[in-house]
Symmetry: C2
Subunit: 285 residues, 2 copies
């Protein structure tokens, strides 16, 4: 997805949210934000928004010497989600269609997104998404692909949300015969995106048949984050892609099923959707 001019100041807003986590000193916040602006100006904007956001985030990490500004936030999100995990499991188990319900919950969990902002209500979103009509609904194709695929890669998005992903992974493992599912997390911290630490914290490392897979978004390769994804796509039968960033970054491929809430107006527009719509979309490329 191409960067729109709206993204340029939205990324700066994300920068301010992040800078406020690393220091309370307004002068220092200004110094880092100015550095972000200078670096954004030096970039070619004819790229996808996460490329610019990566530059922004790497500058903040470098300037603040804080490798993972959202570390505490991520733990809090994981704890909140783990707290409601038993209840969510019951909702799935009692459902007439456990897989569909687990998919809906995994999409509901996508509301926990500090790239968009901290103002979300997880319980309200769960109630809403369990009933809401999909704006794009490729669930039938999704089920058919689960039946036919020999392997599966599941690209997670955010901390907290990964607990909801765990429930979907458990449901898939329960209903289908995958020998192994690869659960993707990022090597380099980016906002509240999942890393190995989150996957281990919520117990995905203990799931039989699931292997955690590090996705490399090398700081020196931020202009080409899709290269590593391309390897995954080439080698896999089927990919579940969670969230907006993966949707913006991954090439359009029919192996991929995108699950997300369209939170950003630019992404909603790209999908022909409204903000807040829920999406289960098969790639078409």
């Amino acid at each position: 997805m191409k960067t729109r001019l709206d993204c340029i100041f939205c990324i700066q807003r994300q920068a301010l949210d992040t800078v406020r986590l690393v220091t309370n000193d307004v002068k220092e916040q200004e110094r880092i934000l100015r550095s972000v602006m200078v670096n954004i100006l030096e970039m070619n904007w004819n790229t996808c928004p996460p490329d610019i956001a990566d530059v922004m985030y790497n500058i903040i990490r470098k300037e603040s010497k804080e490798n993972d500004p959202y570390k505490t936030v991520k733990k809090e999100c994981n704890d909140i989600a783990l707290g409601i995990y038993p209840e969510l499991k019951k909702i799935v188990d009692r459902s007439a269609n456990p897989l569909l319900t687990a998919v809906r919950l995994a999409i509901a969990g996508n509301v926990i997104d500090y790239g968009v902002g901290p103002n979300f209500d997880i319980n309200k979103t769960i109630s809403l998404v369990l009933e809401k009509k999909f704006r794009i609904d490729h669930f039938t194709e999704f089920v058919n692909n689960l039946k036919e695929s020999e392997d599966l890669v599941y690209l997670t998005d955010n901390a907290g949300e990964i607990v909801f992903d765990k429930i979907l992974l458990e449901t898939i493992m329960n209903e289908y015969n995958f020998q192994k599912i690869y659960c993707g997390v990022k090597v380099t911290p980016f906002i509240n995106d999942t890393t190995m630490q989150d996957a281990v914290y919520v117990g995905i490392d203990k799931m039989e048949g699931v292997e955690i897979m590090n996705i490399e978004v090398d700081e020196n390769k931020v202009d080409h984050p899709s290269k590593t994804f391309q390897e995954i796509i080439t080698k896999s039968n089927m990919i579940i892609s969670k969230g907006q960033r993966n949707f913006e970054t991954l090439p359009d491929n029919k192996k991929i099923f995108f699950m997300l809430i369209a939170k950003c107006p630019m992404i909603a527009n790209e999908l022909g959707a409204e903000q807040g719509d829920i999406i289960l979309k098969r790639g078409s490329g």
Copy 2:
């Protein structure tokens, strides 16, 4: 009011709104926005937000060679407000307290603010503000000052809103014995702020006892826009100041009565108010 870091990307958002009025060419929009960012970076941010917004706006006018990007928008706003003028006059005339009702309407008109954005509903705001409790209510002092003052300066804010101001001016002229009221508009166009053209278009030039006064915000003096205001304050008994920009720019002085809707979260915070609150505040300095 001091600039907060939030203002920096909000001003860039205003820049994008404005740039989209002057050209549909996205490459040209990017070129102008980059120029805005470079110039904001060159500024000292230890100033009030309108100083930075003025720099932004002057760059857009210079780069696009369009002196008044909101010219058409302003005419539309004036036309909409003139269309409901007879109805608004009736509301005031039938009111138990015409002055208070006219003040409420003048504040309701402040929702027409393209600095904040184009998504406002004037009829809904009128109904709301006619009933709403003031967050800051210095109406009694306002009335006492009207009784005691020999002269009055009325600083308007936005096109469209100026029709609501006209009704308040007419109500004041009807109830008090001012020989002359000076109605302030800007010399240099800034977003949808009023200029002489708007004042004449809505007929303020034809009001007996009202003289339109040009406020100079010289392009070369953008770091000191308050200088001209200081002259007004020194020479006047009483000033009515409409809107957020005047509140941000004017020195705090007990001669001034600020009337506005707190639309920006930073200004709401400065006032100890919530976004959407209505304010009639006497300066205290």
